[in-house]
Amino acid sequence: MSSNEQFNQISPSEFFYRNRDLAGFSNPTRSLYTAVREFVENSLDACDHSGILPNIHMTIKAVDPEKPDPKQYILTVKDNGPGIPSKHVPLAFGTVLYGSKFGLKQARGMFGLGATMAILYGQITTNKSVKVKSNADGKTRFDFEMLLDIQKNKPVIVKKQETPSSEKGLSVSICLDGDYSKAGTKIRDYVYQTSLITPYATISFDDPKGEKFHHKAIIRSMPPAPTIIAPHPYGIDVETIRRMLVDTHYQIPNVDDKMIEKVRKELGMSKKKFTYDEIMKKTEKKWKSLSRPVRVVISLMSFLEADFEKLQRIRIEDVDLRNNKLVYWDYSTSQTLVAEMDVESHYYKQLANTVQGESLTHFLSKRFQRVGPTAALEFCKFAKFKPETRVGNMTDQELVKLSDALQTYEGFRSPDPTCLAPLGDGPLEKGIERRFEPDFMAVVQRTASAYSGFPFVIEMGIAYGGKIETRGTTVYRFANRIPLLYDEGSDVVLKVVKDTDWNRYKVKNDSAPMIIVSHICSTRVPYKTVGKENVADRPEIEKELRLALQFLSRKLSGYMSKKGQAEMAKKRANLYSKYLPLVAQFCTELSGNKKEPNYKEMIKEETALTNSEGTLEEVKKNG
């Protein structure tokens, strides 16, 4: 690296502008499809989290229909969601990395930056502004026209307008270079499959050729929304533990003006000047109602015998518990001073607790999901930590040891799936039934499992026959309610389906009218690429997929053999009604008789036998 190389910091917008391939905006075909996905998924996420049954309308219109592809298209996605308060609109749509999705819960998009990328792409290719219409309060609709300042990562509002309106929701419209003749199939598939995995949503799509696709909601209730939860021990690293320790406030607070103001407020001594004794007296009375940081500050004051004025002049350097000394810097005299601490004082205890932090068992059971006091104790035994070890005292080496042990200990219960939002077997079943009207179907929702501390749930459905038109196994892959359409060759779901020996389940794999719907829900789906189209084969996920598929295949196998029996019985009955009359005819002529023998009863008996053996109707739907 040469010494005169320039180092510039680039804005996130600029970074994404330069790396737009990563986010799926590599060419007009892919970009149009990705833009559709980002907007539709944002709308669905917004509705899900507000408990609104989504009603989403999308249109794609060519700016000049006569031109050949690729050409400019206007993409508009409108929803009935909660909308975005007008003051957030410019930032939400004009800044990269601005979003509300940074918690640990399942959502379709991770950070909400895809939509901004789409806007960015549109602006780059057509130099046209994005139009956003948002109504968050059901009273006023705000219409924005904005451009992105890529270097500064800031929105530039071109036009803003208010209109009274009672209809809540958000509508985003961009102009972008696209190739619908190539992307059309995928986009239609995407819309169709989204409606399959979101059976509570109504999704309509007007395509540039004038075709209208309308997928009406099949069910009227939404699956429960996911909650935000504490991390699981398996998914943690040293840095996260360190941050969690900071987060716990087990630190000597920074005694600045703001802090002092807080202490005054809590003691009810905001106004006047108070002596040290007065402060201590008030503290005795109010101790129980004080917050932890305030208690710590007062404890410090007690040893320093400081009033608020003195407190402003010093900075705490160290709380030395071994020597019971308090080391501080005095700004007025510019020197380091030491104050003795009285071990008997309850202020000492407060300070000691704070500096040392809580005990390891307490820390584990309070800060992590799925760790109770017993589990914490057992873990300490396993990791050879004293349960009463104070987390604040732990050295870097110990933190590394702790982090390693957390990941190798096998006694923790699997992660809490409440942060996940699987569709549920009911809605999934309904979705499949209404879209495919199969002869047989079964669905299963596996119990939650985890890979590297990220919980996940596998939902799967299988359907056979009926109005399924495709031949061979068709696999619909979903992850966090997003259809995965590209790069299916390397996907773990496909791998599991391919590995299955379908002959064992009496299914002719290459000609069977069969579909498989697979849905992976996780706080973090292990995608192989940034484009989010195929799931990597983590052993834990592969195992769950395998178990789910085996369960369903066994059910299908049961159906197939009953179907086989029914068909066989029917065939048998047909055989007798076909051949016995012939036998009768030939033997009559051969034997020289005039009248045919009375064989009709025999056919009746055979057919009756068949019916009692069970028909197809009875074995239908045993899922």
Partner: protein
């Protein structure tokens, strides 16, 4: 004179036999039909008992000097849904055979296959219908020719033999089989015809059409007082029946001339003592027939040009060595020589020494020789 007298008597006898045979067949078919009818009347599922034709049930009868079926039989029941179809096919064939026999109309294997379609009885292919025909043969213990079903392949006959047709439309009409140099096809009308008269003293069965023509051209029929028959490779059953009748009814010895290889040897053997495929049938063999050549030992003796045996030729030799009929005498000896020299010679090999070498030199020599074995 005395000889002629015997011939006439035999003729009468056979004519009567034939009518009886036909009557017997019809009544046998009727009996089976009646049984099926009765079963149905009683609400029972009718069935056929068919002699088992699997290898394990084929045994060599030393006394009869041919393969026969053992006592194993298998049941084909209409109760069994997987047999119902073939049961119906078999019954239909019995019905169809009855019709043919009654009306004296002949049919071929292929014709049977196509006729079935008119009766809503479906055969998947001709192979399936051919199998059912063999089934019926086994049930009735009668060859299909008796119920007027003939094979497609035709072999031919030439020589001074007068026959009298019995098929409808030609009854009483006679024909001498030396009037047409291409020979006469051995079809249903020939097989069913009465053998009236012959001046021949010998029947020469020859494997190949080419040599058959040559023999006619060389007037072998006159020179050797013989009837010449082209078997066209492995002799079809109608030809074997005719050979048997020429031997039994006309008292003519039969000699066989084949290629000098293991297949030729076996063609001769089948005429003599039947094939495993037809183990369920009797009356197709000519036990006194003689294989005249070309023997393996002839190859050296007559200095015939040869070609090497193929792998499958050699394998066939070893297979036949296990056959009980090849355990002694000429048959065993020649087979072993073939294995030893691993070479074979065609009948045409004689042309090396001139086109008429085979008729001028080889044939007289072998005929003379054949009197002694």
């Amino acid at each position: 004179m005395a000889k002629k007298q015997t011939k006439k008597e035999t003729k009468k006898q056979t004519k009567k036999d034939k009518i009886d045979k036909s009557k017997n067949l019809i009544s046998l078919l009727k009996k089976h039909g009646a049984q099926v009818y009765e079963d149905l009347e009683n609400g029972e599922f009718p069935k056929f008992s068919i002699p088992n034709r699997s290898i394990s049930n084929i045994i060599y009868d030393k006394k009869l000097r041919q393969y026969v079926l053992g006592t194993n039989t298998s049941l084909r029941s209409s109760r069994n849904s997987s047999q119902l179809r073939s049961f119906t096919q078999l019954l239909w064939l019995a019905f169809f055979a009855n019709k043919l026999t009654h009306e004296k109309k002949s049919s071929t294997l292929r014709d049977v296959y196509y006729s079935s379609q008119a009766f809503a009885v479906d055969f998947e292919d001709q192979g399936e219908s051919d199998n059912i025909i063999v089934d019926l043969e086994a049930v009735l213990s009668q060859p299909r020719e008796d119920f007027y079903v003939f094979p497609e392949e035709r072999s031919s006959i030439f020589g001074d033999l007068t026959i009298e047709y019995t098929i409808p439309g030609y009854e009483g009409k006679t024909q001498n089989l030396s009037s047409h140099p291409d020979g006469y096809a051995i079809g249903p009308s020939m097989t069913s015809a009465e053998l009236v008269d012959t001046s021949a003293e010998l029947v020469i069965a020859i494997e190949k059409g080419g040599l058959f023509t040559r023999f006619v051209e060389e007037q072998v029929d006159k020179k050797f007082k013989s009837i010449i028959i082209n078997t066209g490779g492995q002799a079809p059953r109608s030809t074997r029946t005719l050979l048997k009748r020429l031997h039994d009814e006309m008292g003519l010895p039969v000699v066989i001339l084949t290629d000098g290889d293991v297949y030729g040897e076996h063609i001769a053997m089948v005429i003599k003592s039947g094939s495993a495929n037809a183990a369920h049938l009797k009356g197709l063999t000519v036990p006194d027939a003689k294989w005249m050549g070309v023997w393996a030992t002839d190859i050296d003796k007559f200095k015939l040009p040869t070609i090497p045996m193929t792998e499958s030729d050699i394998k066939r030799c070893y297979d036949l060595l296990k056959d009980p009929r090849y355990q002694e005498g000429l048959w065993k000896r020649e087979l072993e020589v073939f294995i030893k020299i691993k070479r074979k010679a065609e009948l045409e090999a004689f042309s090396k020494y001139g086109l008429n070498n085979i008729t001028e030199k080889y044939l007289p020599k072998k005929l003379e020789e054949s009197k002694s074995f």
